[in-house]
């Protein structure tokens, strides 16, 4: 089953990101094994799997965040609209603007709400109307109505859910194409979680989103496509199954996927 699925493309999937023969090592320890994944443009792709299966590592490959880990080594290709992100002429900083990231815990800077959103464009040497960028980004992140009267207040005065939307606004301010989300709701209550999920749905009209989540219901609710990754004794960080989320969550092809999503794993 795995052999058949590895490298399989869903028909007509318009991929913005593709991994080809991707292997990742921390020193000599392999953490990702031969992953071939297509990420659909302007859709939400969920990566699920048990702890230690390499899903966060895979996510970090998409904007070269693994470069920041000295022992990490990436083999194979990550193609962004056909261009290899790991080729020598690619500037990782530029990539991190085009492919933004939102983390598990909201991590606003200890600055004002306004300055948090303006931060990226400013250090990027943005010459246009920065206020317009801030307002538009806060609107897009569905936060504007809640903060429009206190833009100069500290970002740390916001609730957890608002801080996470502020981090999304901060990522949007530098006009990315892709947003990577690493368990973006795991520190949030159910109401704030739903607000982020609604936002993801709206954003997917203009952005391609990849979300790593432990919450199966969240993956089922929010994503269009789901990749299931696993770790076995002989092999670590490999993709078992990839498909439309409705198929994965109602009728997965691989029995390991079925065992995982129904909680019969291990």
């Amino acid at each position: 089953m795995v052999d058949k699925l590895e490298g399989q493309k869903l028909q007509d999937l318009d991929a913005i990101l593709q991994t080809r023969g991707l292997n990742v090592y921390y020193d000599t320890k392999q953490v990702i094994t031969d992953v071939n994944l297509d990420v659909a443009r302007n859709r939400i792709t969920a990566i699920i799997g048990p702890s230690g299966c390499g899903k966060s590592t895979l996510l970090r490959c998409f904007n070269r965040m693994n470069d920041l880990i000295p022992s990490a080594r990436v083999e194979g290709q990550v193609l962004f609209d056909g261009r290899d992100l790991y080729s020598h002429d690619v500037d990782p900083t530029e990539i991190r603007y085009l492919i933004g990231m939102v983390f598990q815990r909201p991590n606003p800077f200890p600055k004002s709400i306004y300055d948090n959103v303006a931060f990226g464009p400013r250090i990027n040497g943005f010459k246009g109307d920065i206020e317009e960028v801030v307002v538009r980004s806060l609107h897009r992140a569905a936060l504007w109505d809640e903060v429009k009267d206190r833009l100069k207040a500290s970002a740390l005065s916001l609730s957890g859910g608002q801080q996470q939307r502020l981090c999304i606004a901060r990522a949007l301010a530098v006009e990315p194409s892709v947003i990577l989300m690493d368990e973006p709701c795991s520190a949030l209550d159910p109401i704030a979680t739903l607000a982020i999920e609604d936002l993801m749905r709206e954003l997917s009209e203009d952005y391609s989103i990849i979300i790593v989540t432990h919450n199966m219901q969240q993956a089922a609710r929010v994503s269009n496509y789901t990749a299931f990754m696993m770790v076995e004794e002989a092999r670590v960080g490999f993709m078992v199954e990839f498909g439309e989320s409705r198929q994965i969550f109602t009728n997965p092809e691989d029995e390991r996927t079925e065992a995982y999503i129904t909680g019969r794993f291990g």
Binding site: M216, F249, T250, N251, I261, T262
Partner: protein
Amino acid sequence: MVRADFDRSLEELQAELVGLGEMVERAIIKSMDALERRDLAMAYEVVEEDDLIDAKRFELEEKCIDLIATQQPLAIDLRTLLAVLHIAVELERMGDYAEGIGKICLIIGDDTPVETPKQLPLMAEMGLAMLRRSLQSLVDRDTALAGEVWASDDEVDEQYAGVCRQIFLDMGQHPSTIEAATHFLWVAHDLERIADRATNIAERVIFLVTGRFGRYGGPPVSG
């Protein structure tokens, strides 16, 4: 609820569903016995006992809803609960057809100038066999057996067409029996529907096991 408890709940649910199937089976047998013997007391019991079948169906439905709400089932668990919900409704409707035959017995009374057409007990036997086999296919997760149930519906349809022809013929030859014969048409109709419902159960078993709708697998859920 831990996974093992959820598994046990699913097993119990299936056992109760099979139990409901057995109640329906007894109701069909009893209704046909009542019809053949013109036993009004027995017919009355069939009508009365349908309430128990209805109650059991709603009890099963409630248990499914509880598990869906508390366990948020996915994949095979989700398909199992959806199949149980669907099959419980099919069984309850089969019980209604048995009740319908019971009511016809009461209308016909214990004295009627027309004999019960011989094909009717045969149709009932065929329907009962389909019911038993459909539930067996559920217990064994046996799609081949479920497919056989599907196939045997054509034979019941043939019998139904035959018995209707015979009854119409008799009506033409003996106009005085038209009213009584009309009641037997209804019995034939109820029996034909019982077989249809058994095929629906078989279809649900195929869905449960494969995630696909329809007799030959049909399109997968992913469309």
